[in-house]
């Protein structure tokens, strides 16, 4: 090393060990995500003339980030394939929707409830977790993919049940007019269309995308911290042991049934939690929002991102959400304007069998999404940021350091 000049001892820079941390891939991703999350609202407000549309989209993406983090506990950590994750999402959303709207007034009990969001978020969590436990208890001893099928079946049953019990849930008519969260006070300012910075009290979220953005940002941050803690705990290791070899894990004294049940329950609780948020932020909950395709989308997110790696699945969730809700919908107009600008504007017009370039691009999006999925998986079978990349780093690291140093690092 050429850097022999002694740096001032224990400078702030040295103490933060910044350079060292950036070299750790996960920390770098978290840092970048944090930066983007903080800068994004300002930039999108600035670039779209104060429209909060993009912030609202980002807020919804946050729901999927929460779902991905939760499903990762089940699939990535404990190695249990769950194909019906949306069922718990539905349970959370309906729990909030039923008890925070006028819906139950028309039901056989003729009484509407309006419990506060902050309470119902946790009620949704608990009910979803209980549903997970009830489903998991008799089925978690099933081996391998049979469990996947049970979850798939459960995922098919739940939305249909919400649809069929229409006396209670309004069936396919959905539940609308769901209460917005309220806070005793909130800060408003130019970013929300106000003239100056001031305090609103009391404050209702009433579809203010920025408030929801802040809320989901906090929820996701808390979720990241908690799940990271879990991963590095006794329970997290037990999950991974079961994922790697269930027989050996049991022989080491791990109660595989309760440990798997915990993974299932915790995964479900994330989904239930996200469901309550979803119900509030959309103000509308319908059985169609929780079909198989939702479970599949979240699964795609975590596998594509890199199962088991928390930053990986977050990036996966954002990427897939971005492709589905921004890239693909915006493609037809983009292609049209591209065609116009390179002198092929005539293609945009409808003629005979040709539906026009814009419509044709629209028709091709499903195919395109499939192609993107397949090619991304073929290029990176381990996902974008797999947890196993560290294998290489670790091999390098331990080759040179001596035993004492390793021990010191872990003392």
């Amino acid at each position: 090393m050429s850097n022999r000049v002694a740096a001032p001892p224990r400078s702030l820079f040295a103490r933060l060990r910044l350079r060292e941390r950036i070299r750790d891939r996960d920390t770098a991703i978290y840092g970048l995500l944090l930066l983007v999350a903080l800068v994004f609202p300002a930039i999108s407000l600035y670039t779209s003339d104060g429209s909060t549309y993009l912030i609202a989209v980002a807020g919804h993406a946050g729901t999927y980030v929460l779902l991905a983090i939760g499903l990762n506990v089940v699939v990535g950590f404990a190695g249990l394939l769950d194909l019906g994750y949306a069922a718990f999402f539905a349970i959370g959303a309906y729990t909030y929707a039923l008890f925070a709207s006028q819906q139950l007034l028309a039901s056989p009990i003729h009484h509407a409830y309006h419990f506060p969001f902050w309470l119902m978020m946790f009620v949704g969590l608990i009910i979803a977790a209980s549903a997970g436990a009830i489903l998991g208890f008799p089925t978690l001893r099933l081996r391998g993919d049979y469990l996947a099928i049970v979850t798939l079946g459960f995922g098919e049953i739940v939305p249909q049940v919400f649809q069929n019990f229409d006396q209670w849930t309004g069936g396919i008519n959905a539940i609308g007019g769901i209460d917005q969260p309220t806070l005793p006070a909130w800060v408003t300012g130019p970013w929300a269309g106000a003239d100056s910075i001031s305090i609103v009290a009391p404050f209702s979220f009433s579809f203010d995308p920025i408030a929801y953005y802040v809320l989901i940002f906090i929820l996701v941050s808390v979720a990241i911290v908690l799940v990271n803690n879990l991963q590095r705990s006794r329970l997290g290791r037990a999950w991974m042991a079961i994922r790697e070899d269930e027989v050996a894990a049991a022989a080491m004294g791990i109660n595989t049934v309760t440990t798997k049940l915990l993974a299932f329950g915790i995964g479900a609780s994330f989904s239930g939690f996200a469901g309550a948020y979803y119900g509030a932020s959309f103000g509308l909950v319908s059985p169609d929002d929780f079909l198989f395709i939702v479970s599949i989308t979240v699964l795609v997110m975590i596998v594509l991102g890199g199962m088991g790696s928390i930053p990986g699945v977050i990036v996966g969730a954002i990427t897939v959400y971005f492709i589905l809700n921004w890239f693909l919908p915006l493609l037809p107009p983009a292609v049209q304007s591209l065609a116009s600008s390179i002198g092929l504007g005539s293609l945009n017009a409808r003629s005979g069998d040709w539906p026009g370039l814009g419509n044709e691009t629209q028709n091709v999006t499903l195919l395109l999404f499939g192609l993107i999925l397949v090619s991304m998986m073929l290029v990176r079978p381990q996902g974008l940021f797999p947890s196993r990349v560290r294998e290489q780093e670790l091999k390098h690291a331990t080759g040179q350091e001596d035993e004492a140093a390793i021990e010191q690092a872990h003392a």
């Binding site: 590095r232 042991a241 050996a248 022989a251 670790l394 091999k395």
Partner: protein
């Protein structure tokens, strides 16, 4: 039984295991004394591993009883058996491949740890202390089996011999009173076998009773005080090594095989 309960850590009474028509373990009774190295030998397919599986709760014996420290543990679940103080290694090495060596051993500590979901979720001080202590203990065990330098490598990247050692360290982490080793020296060079024998003696010095399955008679003779021989699921001989080696039934069982 005439054996004094206090002397015996493990007693098997007439253990039988059937798979359909096949009797893999046939009415086997034996007792293992506290603090000894006890060996189980027998030709391929004799039922040795199956007997281990019956003791460790992977299988439930078709009939008979497994008694640990005077307590009947027949039919207990594997994790209960581990908690009660029996740990094992596997003939075909079953490590947690994509976990580091350190984590493999820390998983072994699981059953002696106390942190609950909440402790881990919020990283409460007690949990941090326990994690630090367990890491320390796990490193000590890695040092004990001689692979501390590999602590941060994935288990699957270790060479074969070190994987066997890691499996032993992981089993020891559960603080067993009785350690079952299923062919721990299989595929070892003579030098490695000598080292393994030394390791087994060191394990004994920690106060752990060792019961091992081994094909190599040199290893068996070198370390064990008593041997039981299994053939077609049946116990055909029992006694000190010199005696068993010259037993005509044992010779017959091994006829044509390298013993």
């Amino acid at each position: 039984m005439t054996d004094n309960l206090d002397d015996n850590i493990l007693v098997l009474n007439n253990v039988t295991k059937r798979f359909g028509g096949l009797v893999a373990v046939d009415d086997v009774s034996l007792s293992i004394k506290r603090g000894e190295i006890f060996a189980l030998i027998g030709p391929n397919g004799a039922g040795k591993t199956t007997l281990f599986n019956n003791v460790t709760g992977l299988f439930k014996p078709t009939s008979g009883h497994v008694i640990l420290n005077g307590k009947d543990i027949t039919g207990s679940k594997p994790h209960e058996v581990a908690r009660l103080g029996i740990a094992r290694t596997f003939q075909n090495i079953r490590l947690f491949d994509y976990m580091t060596c350190l984590d493999n051993v820390r998983v072994g500590r699981h059953v002696r740890m106390h942190s609950k979901l909440w402790d881990g979720l919020f990283k409460l001080p007690a949990e941090r202390r326990e994690e630090a202590r367990v890491t320390e203990e796990a490193m000590e065990l890695l040092r004990f089996v001689g692979i501390a330098r590999q602590a941060h490598q994935y288990a699957r990247n270790l060479p074969y011999g070190q994987q066997r050692r890691l499996e032993i360290a992981r089993a020891l982490a559960t603080e067993p009173k009785l350690l079952l080793l299923d062919e721990p020296a299989a595929g070892f060079t003579p030098q490695e076998k000598v080292e393994l024998m030394a390791l087994v003696r060191k394990i004994l010095d920690r106060g752990v009773t060792v019961w091992l399955i081994e094909h190599d008679m040199k290893v068996v003779m070198g370390i064990s005080e008593r041997i039981v021989v299994l053939d077609h699921g049946e116990k055909i001989a029992e006694g000190p090594p010199e005696e068993v080696r010259t037993d005509p039934r044992v010779i017959e069982a091994y006829l044509g095989k390298s013993a």
